[in-house]
């Protein structure tokens, strides 16, 4: 007898996972194809003592989340391309202020307002670089509904652990696609909480941006508690006061970068379907992986030797993984539901191996046949 299965779409999976991960605050602004995440959170949070708000715009929604997260609540928002664009200044604040936050981007076809009900992986580079200052962020890309659930749980834990915004790079074709998900495909991921500052540990006043001895991540205290807490979007020292001291700034900004980059290899979440004799490596992420899996299965039936790498942690870039897997083959093929965004990252680690690319942006999924024509022209 098969394990019981749920029939849900990716957006519901995100919302259910958020509730399970201890999300206590959601604020969003209606936008297709992300709206149903907000609708689900509105059903899930208020009855259990959580808070769900509709902002007057995306800027407000994310601002509400930042305020709530600084009060110690796990917070999430969800949007699509046009909303991500408006989020930009608040994303920068989340990075600068080291404010834990989960941001779901159910991507749709761009550029600009594009097509509300058509899918694309339009925003991959925007998620990485759509902040002033260019500091690293974490971006996780689900392939299906089960990934939406599991990666959202991971996203909350990563946001709490590293005190940073974590993005889920979903897609209309996952968020609004219903599918049967086996109960045991939903991982039971233990929710983690941000490391708190031990107020008994020292007589000196709390320094909100001072890392602890064993971590680059500053221990957290909430605004509104006993001890006074300062939060600021401006360049600051460990005490949270504005500073222009080059040494202090270099240290703080360097630490914010290093706290993620130094973990880039162990943060790598991915699936590899490897053939040890493979000459070809296909690299994909997101919904396109579904077509690639089907295509690879078909080719193997015709005795073609090839490997498939499905990257979930797009950022920080899993450098070691990419280098190692690329070194094993003579052809690397990257397929993306855009005109070439993540391929730029892969090219940086491909050494002598040339990277072939196929991408499409017309609102339609890339099909297994299209991938086949790239692999076997």
């Amino acid at each position: 007898m098969a394990t019981p299965r749920f029939f849900i779409d990716g957006n519901e999976a995100v919302a259910r996972a958020a509730a399970k991960s201890g999300c206590r605050f959601f604020a969003g602004y209606p936008i297709t194809p992300a709206t149903t995440i907000y609708q689900h959170m509105l059903s899930l949070l208020p009855p259990s003592g959580g808070i769900c708000l509709q902002g007057e715009d995306e800027i407000a929604s994310l601002g509400f989340c930042l305020g709530a997260s600084m009060a110690g609540l796990k917070a999430m928002t969800a949007t699509s391309g046009p909303g991500i664009s408006l989020f930009s200044e608040q994303i920068s604040f989340a990075i600068a202020g080291e404010i834990p936050l989960v941001i779901v981007d159910v991507q749709r076809l761009g550029p600009s307002t594009g097509s509300a009900t058509r899918g694309a992986d339009s925003d991959i580079q925007f998620l990485r670089w759509g902040n002033s200052g260019g500091l690293p962020v974490i971006v996780l890309a689900p392939v299906n509904g089960a990934d939406c659930y599991n990666l959202t749980c991971h996203a909350f834990n990563l946001a709490e652990t590293f005190r940073c915004p974590v993005f889920i790079a979903s897609n209309k074709e996952i968020g609004l696609t219903g599918e049967a998900i086996a109960e045991d495909a939903l991982a039971d991921i233990e929710p983690l909480n941000r490391a708190g500052y031990d107020t008994h540990q020292s007589e000196a006043p709390y320094q909100p941006f001072a890392p602890s001895a064993d971590s680059m991540v500053p221990p957290f205290l909430p605004i509104g508690g006993e001890v006074l807490v300062r939060q600021t979007s401006s360049s600051h020292g460990p005490d949270g006061f504005i500073t222009t001291s080059p040494e202090t700034l270099e240290q703080g900004i360097g630490r914010m970068r290093a706290k993620l980059i130094s973990h880039r290899n162990e943060l790598a979440l991915y699936r590899i379907d490897a053939d040890p004799e493979a000459e070809i490596l296909v690299i994909v992420y997101g919904v396109t992986a579904r077509a690639a899996e089907e295509c690879v299965r078909g080719l193997r039936e015709q005795s073609q030797r090839l490997s498939l790498l499905v990257v979930h942690t797009l950022y920080p870039i899993p450098e070691k993984l990419l280098r190692e897997e690329i070194a094993k083959v003579s052809r690397v093929i990257v397929i993306e539901m855009n005109l070439g965004q993540y391929v730029r990252e892969i090219e940086r680690f491909s050494g002598e191996t040339t990277v072939e690319f196929f991408g499409k942006m017309n609102g339609e999924l890339i099909s297994p046949d299209e991938i086949l024509r790239v692999i076997k022209p």
């Binding site: 019981p4 407000a60 994310l62 305020g67 600084m70 599918e179 509104g224 006074l228 939060q231 077509a291």
Partner: protein, 433 residues
């Protein structure tokens, strides 16, 4: 009570700047209210007024230009007991206008002090949303082409429950700030002041200019408004207590032998309002009750109750990868609008494929096997036709059987809706003989 001013960071403004008086009055007001530093959060944005949080020993949240109210809203809802004071200049007022309006409407217990000095001090004295047209600013003639904003009148129209306008040098400033802070709801104070660093450099008699503006605003009627409406946070928490917990995800277990063990691709072609995606979901649920995997990909325009609605359903004994359908095994043709979108698919449909068609619509010529369903005879309303076709499908032995369809309907619907659906299925099946 003792002062909450931070002795190591004294106020740091140009000599004669009104902001300094507001800092001291705010401190006096805190003392008068007997608040300790950890009972207060000062939320600021950008500009000279954005320095406020650094002068106090309180919780502090300093963020982006015009967005202070957004952080304050999240913070206050998460910490209802905290006194949250938001400081913005007239710059923040202009750029964050939507947040000001929404805060007035929302009536969450925040106090917004607008340090209105009629120009952008920090960036060199450009015009702001409140600059009188007569004033001279670094924006040249641009500031003279727009009407200055009467924020008190605007706040009144937006439903604010506490509105006050005062000059920064008014002796009652601390006392009036105290009233705003103790008001249970959103309070807004327009505190008019002088920026000697910028505004006074270009305007010989700044006080006169501001007094004239103030007088003009007053003539329209008193902007001060003190009313009461339920505080947002209190109202929110009351509603939460009444909110019904949502159903957990309901697993579907397969209790019968698996249905037809082949992968089948089923295309629903219909229009908005025909409950296409509900019918497609029911097919998925039925297949899952038969132990199969299922995916449902929808395609529709952004309009509601108008335009096409297409669902692509795949059911399979194996996990499903690609969710799109190029050559469907079964097509349910429900409206010409939907058919029009995939007319090529119908035209090129294989002879082995099946099309179930609502009899009154016209579809392109096709080699596929056709079953016409007279929905009028079945008394199937427009939004029931997709289900009627599904019921007919169960008679073909091709995919889910009647028992699985029944279990799917029981999973999805209850009460009247369920009975109606079951009755329709019965009518359709018996019409097929």
């Amino acid at each position: 009570m003792t002062s909450l001013l931070n002795p190591s960071r004294p106020p740091f403004f140009c000599p004669g700047c009104s902001h300094e008086r507001v800092v001291r009055s705010l401190d006096k007001c805190f003392q008068h209210l007997g608040l300790s530093g950890n009972q207060i959060a000062i939320v600021t944005d950008i500009g000279c007024s954005g320095l406020f949080d650094t002068f106090f020993n309180t919780h502090a949240l300093h963020g982006l230009h015009g967005r202070a109210l957004t952080y304050a809203t999240g913070l206050k809802l998460a910490c209802p007991g905290l006194t949250v004071v938001v400081i913005m200049g007239d710059g923040g007022l202009g750029i964050g206008g939507a947040h000001v309006l929404s805060s007035c409407r929302r009536n969450l217990d925040l106090s917004l002090l607008i340090l209105n000095n009629f120009n952008y001090g920090m960036t060199g004295g450009q015009c702001s949303a409140t600059t009188p047209a007569e004033a001279s600013t670094a924006s040249g003639f641009l500031g003279q082409l727009e009407a200055p904003l009467d924020i008190c009148a605007v706040a009144d129209a937006a439903g604010a429950t506490w509105i006050d306008r005062i000059s920064a040098d008014d002796a009652a400033l601390a006392e009036r700030i105290g009233h705003a802070l103790t008001h249970n709801g959103f309070s807004l104070m327009d505190i008019m002041g002088i920026c000697p660093g910028r505004f006074s450099k270009r305007n010989r008699q700044p006080k006169k200019l501001i007094a004239a503006l103030s007088e003009r605003f007053e003539k329209r009627g008193t902007p001060e408004r003190h009313s009461s409406r339920e505080e947002y946070g209190e109202a929110y928490r009351k509603r939460c207590e009444q909110a019904q917990p949502v159903r957990p995800m309901r697993p579907i277990s397969c209790t019968s032998a698996p249905a037809e063990p082949a992968t089948l691709r089923i295309l629903f072609l219909g229009s908005a309002g025909q409950r296409i995606s509900t019918a497609a979901e029911i097919l998925c649920l039925a297949a899952m009750h038969g132990g199969l995997y299922a995916t449902q990909k929808n395609d529709y325009p952004i309009t509601v109750l108008r335009g096409h609605s297409i669902s692509e359903v795949i059911i399979s004994p194996f996990p499903i990868g690609f969710t799109g359908i190029k050559s469907p095994d079964i097509i349910l043709a429900l409206s010409e609008e939907g058919v029009e979108r995939r007319k090529d698919t119908i035209g090129s449909a294989a002879p082995s494929s099946l099309i179930l068609q609502v009899s009154e619509i016209v579809i392109p010529d096709t080699k596929a096997r056709l079953i016409r369903v007279d929905c009028t005879a079945l008394q199937a309303a427009k939004n029931q036709r997709a289900l009627a076709l599904l019921a007919m499908l169960t008679t073909t032995q091709l995919t889910v059987n009647a028992e699985l369809l029944r279990r799917a309907l029981e999973h999805k619907f209850k009460d009247d809706q369920l009975e109606e659906a079951l009755a329709l299925v019965e009518r359709a099946r018996s019409s097929a003989g």
